[in-house]
């Protein structure tokens, strides 16, 4: 692997390799001394054109625990507002001689463009581009789900149904998850008001359900996506209250889930809107497992990109 730009690019073998190594990395996380020497001498720039707390922090921890030199750069205000093109920003930082970029950008496709501009030996990891992809999120979700399945039933993905619920139009998480889960062989059900369904979703090969209640008894995992309040101004739905009644994982719906069904949320959560506190804090909630998996998965991804033959 040279870059990680989209979950859609990953083969089943690559996914398995990343998740399996992440298991080993996860064991490191619980040690008192977490440092691995693997990426010593390698420099990774976290280039975030869009605000992020948890994703950037998760990547930074992963880089530091792998002994890479991690540098955070905020792309905010350095590009369009100063009249500099995205290409010039990327070329400028690339010319400093780094080994990898972890890039987040509000524009869909921006990270793909950047990967086309960096020097040939430089790797690019997509940390979220617009409403397009967030592949490490899908990988960490799969990691947390796989662990949950191992605890509760079988590891097989083929007999699992994952319902993804929320603002799907504006979500990069749903696109990465659908691709990854389809590659793994799971069934995906998308649940959202029609105004928040992506254009052309009928071509995705997933089940589309406007009625969340009918989905509850069938799902092995319900993944609740954040609904931004500003979407109300866009006329996507009338009120947070109405949204919650139709699509929120309320206490009532929690009780109607299949026994052992897992609850995921990529955060940050709007408690009381798309997810109730009862659901977020329930015994089958994987919310914190997802966060913890994030560091392990990102360590594994960095190893797959930088830890191979290019190692010093």
């Amino acid at each position: 692997m040279k870059h990680l730009l989209a979950a859609a690019d990953l083969s089943p073998a690559e996914i398995a390799s990343i998740l399996d190594l992440a298991e080993e990395m996860h064991a490191v996380q619980s040690r008192q001394v977490k440092k691995l020497p693997t990426l010593r001498g390698r420099t990774v720039v976290n280039l975030f054109f869009e605000d992020s707390t948890r994703t950037r922090g998760s990547f930074e921890l992963a880089e530091k625990w792998m002994s890479a030199d991690a540098v955070n750069m905020s792309g905010k205000g350095s590009s369009v507002s100063k009249g500099e093109s995205l290409r010039d920003t990327v070329l400028t930082l690339d010319a400093m001689g780094v080994d990898a970029f972890v890039i987040r950008h509000s524009g869909s496709g921006a990270v793909h463009q950047a990967a086309g501009w960096v020097r040939p030996n430089v790797s690019v990891v997509n940390a979220g581009d617009g409403a397009h992809e967030h592949p490490t999120q899908a990988l960490l979700d799969a990691f947390a789900m796989r662990r949950h399945f191992r605890r509760h039933s079988t590891e097989s993905w083929e007999d699992k149904t994952i319902a993804i619920v929320g603002d799907l139009t504006h979500s990069r998480v749903v696109r990465s998850n659908v691709s990854l889960l389809q590659t793994l062989g799971a069934q995906v059900i998308l649940v959202a008001p029609p105004t928040l369904m992506p254009a052309g979703v009928s071509t995705w090969g997933v089940e589309i359900a406007p009625d969340f209640d009918a989905v509850l008894p069938r799902a092995d995992v319900v993944m609740m996506l954040r609904v931004q309040r500003e979407r109300m101004a866009g006329g996507f739905f009338p009120s947070a209250r109405e949204y919650t009644v139709g699509y929120g994982l309320t206490r009532d719906r929690l009780e109607r889930l299949k026994p052992g069904a897992a609850i995921c949320h990529p955060g940050p959560m709007n408690r009381g809107v798309e997810i109730s506190s009862d659901a977020a804090d329930s015994v089958n909630s994987l919310v914190l497992d997802q966060v913890s998996a994030g560091v392990a998965v990102r360590m594994s991804v960095l190893y797959h990109l930088l830890g191979g033959e290019g190692q010093a």
């Binding site: 590009s79 369009v80 093109s85 995205l86 290409r87 010039d88 950008h105 509000s106 524009g107 869909s108 496709g109 921006a110 793909h112 463009q113 581009d129 617009g130 409403a131 397009h132 992809e133 990069r172 696109r175 992506p198 254009a199 052309g200 979703v201 071509t203 995705w204």
Partner: protein, 423 residues
Amino acid sequence: MSDLLITGARTVSGGTGDLYIQDGVLADPAAAPADVPRLDADGLLALPGLVDLHTHLREPGREDAETIRSGTKAAARGGYTAVFAMANTSPVTDTAEAAMFVASRARRDGYAQVQPVGAITKGLAGEELAELGLMARSAANVRVFSDDGRCVADSLLMRRALEYVTAFDGVLAQHSQDPRLAGPTACCHEGPVSGRLGLPGWPAVAESVIVARDVQLAEATGSRIHVCHVSTAESVEVIRWAKKRGIQVTAEVTPHHLYFDTSEVQGYDTTYKVNPPLRPDEHRTAIAEALADGTIDVVATDHAPHARQDKDHDFAVASPGMLGLEQALAVVMETMVDTGRMDWAAVVDRMSAAPARIGRLAEQGRPLRLGEPGNVVLVDTTARADVDRDASRSLSRNNPYHGRTLPDPVVATVWAGRITYQR
């Protein structure tokens, strides 16, 4: 005004003969003096010079992207002898003085006739009418008005503008885009591709609702409406209906909407970002058929030069638009002539006669007959070549045909007897 004898050219009607241009006007070849400059056109097809109803020349304001000189050189390379220069320059062409600046600069620098298009509203802001009458009555003689790049969304303002320009036989060229249905970030045809790529969608209906409104306003006011860069099957249906009703509506299609479909944007190459966006094949087929049957009157390039730094942003932020002048005839050959949809007489109509007629440009788009203007493009109907953006006469490099093999028809362009391009 120059004298020139073009020898041995075929014409669209099937004959072969010489064309003698004396003082810029076609004259009897038998009267040509022996020492007149000659252009050998043996085996070539002679067409009237092409006319582009929709060109962005970027001067004044963005001379780093294009100038009147470089843009008209590109036009001549494409076989054009006249272009209509869109008003979205800086300053905007919304006054007689601004229009006369473009006209006078074109007289000095132009490799083709440049007819300024006036803005419909002041500063293209869509709020108050620009000085339409003063532009029309000025030496620039403006007849086509457009806020191109922006849609005149206010229905009342559009009605007033349509009424007002009837006083001087003006026409409004509308960029049909409902700004609520397709807002400022809309950049990809709304459908499976935009949904997968996560790009803000530009739904087809955002175009056709405006077209439907405008043709009815044109009917109500007895005015002329021209629909810029038609890109959807639904717009075509509305225009067909309006023409049947006798409404004075004309329409254009761009070469790139005939040639490309939405799939081009899948690699996020901003060269393919254009407004309106590239549409799926069913729309592309509908507009090609409409061009063939005359529902769409003209091919207009929407030649939109952009400096590299304005394209090197993320897709939603990059400037929309692509070059078109140099390859327009090649694309029309490839998509319309070589496919059997149109003959050469229809090409002359859609790319020369009709645009000149719509824009009221008397000295352009005329047949190659005695006494008519000496505007000629000589065409090799068999040549093909790989398009190289670096070989462009434009100052910009956003050529979407780069690296593709296309017909390479234009051998020479003659504007009023002056050779403005020769291969």
